[in-house]
Symmetry: C3
Subunit: 285 residues, 3 copies
């Protein structure tokens, strides 16, 4: 993003958790942060990550972080291993800082950012005292981002490590010349189905004269590619390149996920050059 | 609202969307705004507008905007036409600024505020680049309110137009001397039923010696007008003048909407001068 | 919490309500506050208190307030008596201020803080004008915390009172030498069951050589005490001392409340010294 000037700006801390908002958890973490640094802006990305769902949190982070100013601190607390020896991490890329448990939730950052330096946070004088075994978002992570936002240097929190947990995000598979298989990464609030297929995985589809194609998902075929949600006819299913540059399956003003009975993890196949509606052929997926 | 002094205050941007909070959408828009203007306060009005529901968003805006300081910027992104040629608008009243798609979502502002100047936002150098076809809340609307909050003049964003889309909010109908018909505008979180009837539509009811009356809704009769929710007996249905000066149908510590099986759009009739519990008479609605 | 320096910091107002977030209510209250004092940070604790549930709100406040900086103003609007003569209160402890209706919602503060001074807010020139009978969060409470955050002295709002409403939080009962009975205070988002039993109520359990024990809840027995959620085997139910220092009943990555079909108010018994799995003995609860 553009920057107007080089004056020190108010630091921003973003939050992603699976705490939801009916309990006091998120508010209490903010209290801890403001107690350490009152001069900070705290931005909720989402607290509705599915409980314990590390990929869902990683995805929300990957979609949002780069739209924040440089030097923003991104805190992710989705932490099924809270209270065990899993390590708290501080990662730094060129423009952003990330704080999270060492459970793979920063994997998409490791994938997208170059030269990410990862540290094991061991400086427990920055933690609340005592540290509970069940709410380290309050006792460890919130105070760490509070102090970090006060410009405490990253090396004060602990030493670099290289053996942090990292998962590989699911990649599309070129099965043969005309079939590429992907997977559903997410269903959004509107019921749009985000796949892991990007235009660069399907260059023919976005060439000047695209071939006919079929997208196969849960045994149904989609053969239209639209440029905007509202271009779809009522209840028609179609594909679109969404705002994250992933191919999405959608329907105008409705839930494609419900219509197709599809959820995260479902397979998606794209067949290029064969929309002869050959319903007699066997299902390739 | 009162103002303490005339010093420039930190600008406020309010947000109304149908994005809900389980995705990264709202957080990402805030990142875009803060990247342009770190010195702003962003206030969520609601992100739980029913999907694509322009009236619901217009109503939330109409209920809230005037309680904000002057110069507040109100952004509404309920945008079923995203990615098409529907225009992004910037509207200015005497005290407030509004940014929204040209789909009627500002209609209640046009109705309530005098001398609203409406502009078609065309200055795409204020947009993110590229602009996606599916998330213009991030790519067009957030950056526009960001720059607007930095005191960029409204005429820099585009020229005034007069052919913007405007719906007329449903008005009560005087059917005859003793019957007035209205409609349900909203069911709130508590199950209170907000109608479009205001005290000025029913002056007799609020006169010193009000006549007997019946409110008919979904074939049930309500004959009590209370001054506070808690004055109702358990499970009794009654009317009240709510905080938006609309007549509401309520029940003490319960959902009137559930009890009456009523939703937005339902008809409401008020019969003045006839509570002789004449159950033999035909239903007037 | 630690304080870096003694410079005046930006005041913080926290909010707890049962308004949820689909209506404009919370946003409108923030507009009123910012109109009076633009230089304030507003932090949502939760707006998902169960409707009219005073204990639930009192509990969220008790869990969160002490993690905020001193001088924070905590506003609670769970107000089934809105529009009646129930009084608006301003309470002050050594480090915090609290504003709420006089319905007992501050009871846990009266219990935990020493020397709480409670005032009846009568200075209606600080209210919006007119005051509605249905939304005093907007018309009375928001403006009061706005002015309070501008350092208006507490005695300007009204006189001290001593006859405010106060409930006593449910205390564990020592039935006999080996049986102590408690109650479920809350089920959190993850389905963890928070009881009112604290380690100090069960010192034997936390001694060096703890005796065998059984926790009885909804006719089921729990005989394990773990140190972290993730130490539990799949679907195993166990006890843990949670982040609020209450004994919780949990299951690793699952909802103990669903597994046990238990809700707030359920009885919990702890039997010390008798885990001989004597299923022949009669149920003590």
């Amino acid at each position: 993003m553009e920057q107007e000037n080089k004056l020190p700006r108010k630091p921003i801390i973003t939050l992603i958790t699976d705490f939801d908002t009916q309990d006091h958890f998120v508010g209490t973490m903010k209290g801890v942060i403001y107690s350490i640094n009152p001069d900070v802006d705290i931005v909720d990305i989402t607290h509705k990550v599915a409980s314990y769902d590390i990929f869902d949190a990683a995805f929300a982070l990957a979609q949002s972080y780069r739209f924040f100013p440089s030097d923003t601190i991104h805190l992710v607390v989705v932490d099924p291993g809270v209270g065990t020896t899993r390590r708290p991490l501080l990662a730094r890329s060129l423009a952003h800082k990330f704080v999270a448990p060492d459970n793979g939730v920063l994997s998409l950052i490791y994938e997208r950012e170059e030269n990410v330096e990862v540290r094991h946070i061991t400086a427990d004088h920055y933690f609340l005292n005592p540290v509970s075994a069940t709410f380290q978002g309050r006792d460890i992570f919130a105070p760490v981002v509070g102090w970090l936002s006060k410009s405490v240097e990253v090396d004060k929190f602990g030493d670099p490590i290289t053996d942090f947990i990292k998962f590989t995000s699911p990649k599309p598979k070129q099965v043969n010349e005309s079939l590429i298989k992907g997977v559903v990464l997410k269903v959004d609030k509107f019921g749009n189905i985000l796949t892991n297929l990007r235009p660069e995985d399907l260059p023919q589809l976005f060439a000047e004269n695209p071939p006919p194609f079929k997208i196969i998902i849960n045994q149904q075929e989609i053969t239209r590619l639209n440029l905007a949600y509202s271009m779809g006819k009522p209840s028609e299913l179609f594909a679109i390149v969404g705002s994250s540059s992933y191919l999405e399956i959608c329907t105008n003003r409705g839930s494609a996920a419900k219509a197709l009975n599809v959820n995260r993890g479902a397979e998606v196949g794209v067949i290029l050059g064969s929309t002869e509606s050959g319903s007699g052929s066997q299902d390739p997926i």
